[in-house]
């Protein structure tokens, strides 16, 4: 089973990296948000530095929601989804494996883009380091909730925006605790509580995301 799931992750990574894949899209989109913020609030680096810690999380959330509907959409189109459903594996595990592959292509690259984001918005090294580490906890949680929307999207032909709308409320706790932890660390305050709560929400998302997404995929095929 581990071999089968590893193979699935490897395949999805190949698909993401090769021509037509989505590697880099989230990275670029994340930085594009960093670029548009100063146009909206003005180029004052003091102001930017003050809101930057929170903006990182908003940008990460939006970038993570990008392309969610493709997680299962591509497989649904070429008939591969039926074969994934029929594979002698728990569907929840298949869904989780696809989520991991999606995160490695989007979420991980977002965390890696944080230093550049920090330079653009004049953030200090502590904030950048804290945000990068916390995003490694937060973005998998966002992807995990996103799996639910991705699975619902399979049954719907034109669903890109809807997926994001459905999933946004689910991600609010990640945003709250992630951003609060980043700002506490940046301000040199006690950050144990938000970090622990962020971890708790992430663990919760790792359970509910694959379970609900697998249920949605099963019913979505019944058309």
């Amino acid at each position: 089973m581990i071999r089968a799931l590893a193979s699935l992750i490897r395949r999805d990574l190949k698909l993401g990296v090769r021509a037509g894949g989505s590697l880099g899209t989230a990275f670029v989109f994340f930085l594009a948000i960093a670029m548009v913020v100063p146009f909206a609030v003005g180029p004052d680096l003091d102001v930017l530095a003050r809101i930057g810690g929170g903006m990182i999380w908003v940008a990460a959330l939006l970038s993570s929601l990008l392309g969610l509907d493709r997680i299962f959409g591509a497989d649904a189109e070429d008939g591969g989804l039926d074969l994934l459903l029929l594979a002698p594996l728990p569907l929840e595990a298949v869904v989780a494996a696809k989520g991991i592959a999606h995160w490695l292509i989007t979420g991980l690259s977002i965390a890696l883009a944080v230093p550049l984001f920090g330079i653009l918005l004049g953030l200090n090294a502590t904030t950048v380091a804290a945000a990068a580490v916390l995003l490694l906890i937060g973005t998998p949680a966002i992807t995990s909730f996103g799996l639910i929307g991705a699975a619902l999207a399979v049954a719907l032909p034109r669903s890109g925006m809807l997926t994001a709308v459905l999933i946004l409320p689910f991600t609010i706790p990640v945003l709250i605790f992630g951003s609060a932890a980043t700002q506490s660390i940046a301000a040199g305050e006690y950050f144990g509580t938000p970090v622990k709560l962020l971890l708790a929400v992430a663990l919760f998302s790792f359970v509910i995301g694959p379970v609900a997404a697998a249920a949605a995929l099963r019913i979505g095929r019944e058309t």
Binding site: M1, R3, A4, S7, R11, L15, D78, G80, L86
Partner: protein
């Protein structure tokens, strides 16, 4: 292994495609499904595979687990454009828990060996279809559910298909094959779907 369907029904979009369908299949047998488009051949195969819930009746597998013993080849070939022919097949071998030892044999059987290092996007529809059929050979499973497997195949491809089906049955395998053309598979049973609709129209 034995597959028994009793009294199964399928309701799609408010109308019954078939109602109270029963059949039974044992080792070495082949069931041919015929009927016009939209008569429910695909729905029946998806119900047997477990992709679609039964609206009535039951399907029983004796002597095996459905998830461990079934191959499903649908209309779409599930070939990824960005992966090579070889990678496409290896992936399904891994996912379906097959060692991949038969992979080489499967590729040469379906005349895909020379194409192995090429990406899926350069394949023709017939070649993609053959790659989907290569799964049948590369991964050993007892029950084959084939939805119009001859679609897009040329005469030579069709001959190969008949050959692998015959080999499968000789090894004690079972198959349910749908076709709206005359596919000469020597069925042991046949079901013609869409009969009831003719009477409706009359």
């Amino acid at each position: 292994m034995r597959l028994t369907a009793s009294g199964i029904s399928c309701v799609r979009g408010g109308r019954a495609l078939y109602d109270g369908l029963s059949f039974s299949l044992s080792n070495g047998e082949l069931l041919l499904l015929t009927g016009p488009n939209g008569s429910g051949k695909t729905s029946l195969l998806r119900q047997i595979a477990g992709l679609l819930p039964l609206d009535a009746g039951s399907i029983v597998f004796e002597g095996g687990e459905r998830s461990e013993e079934t191959h499903f080849v649908g209309h779409a070939s599930a070939v990824k454009d960005a992966l090579t022919v070889s990678e496409n097949l290896s992936f399904w071998c891994d996912l379906y828990g097959s060692s991949g030892a038969l992979k080489g044999a499967a590729l040469s059987k379906l005349r895909l060996a020379p194409l192995a290092p090429l990406p899926g996007r350069v394949l023709s529809a017939g070649q993609k279809r053959r790659l989907a059929l290569a799964r049948l050979v590369a991964i050993r499973r007892t029950l084959w559910l084939l939805d119009e497997p001859d679609a897009a195949l040329d005469a030579e491809g069709r001959a190969t298909l008949l050959e692998i089906i015959a080999g499968h049955r000789a090894r004690g395998g079972m198959a349910i094959v749908s076709s709206h053309t005359t596919l000469n598979v020597a069925p042991s049973q046949a079901i013609a779907l869409g009969e009831s609709k003719e009477t409706v129209a009359a």
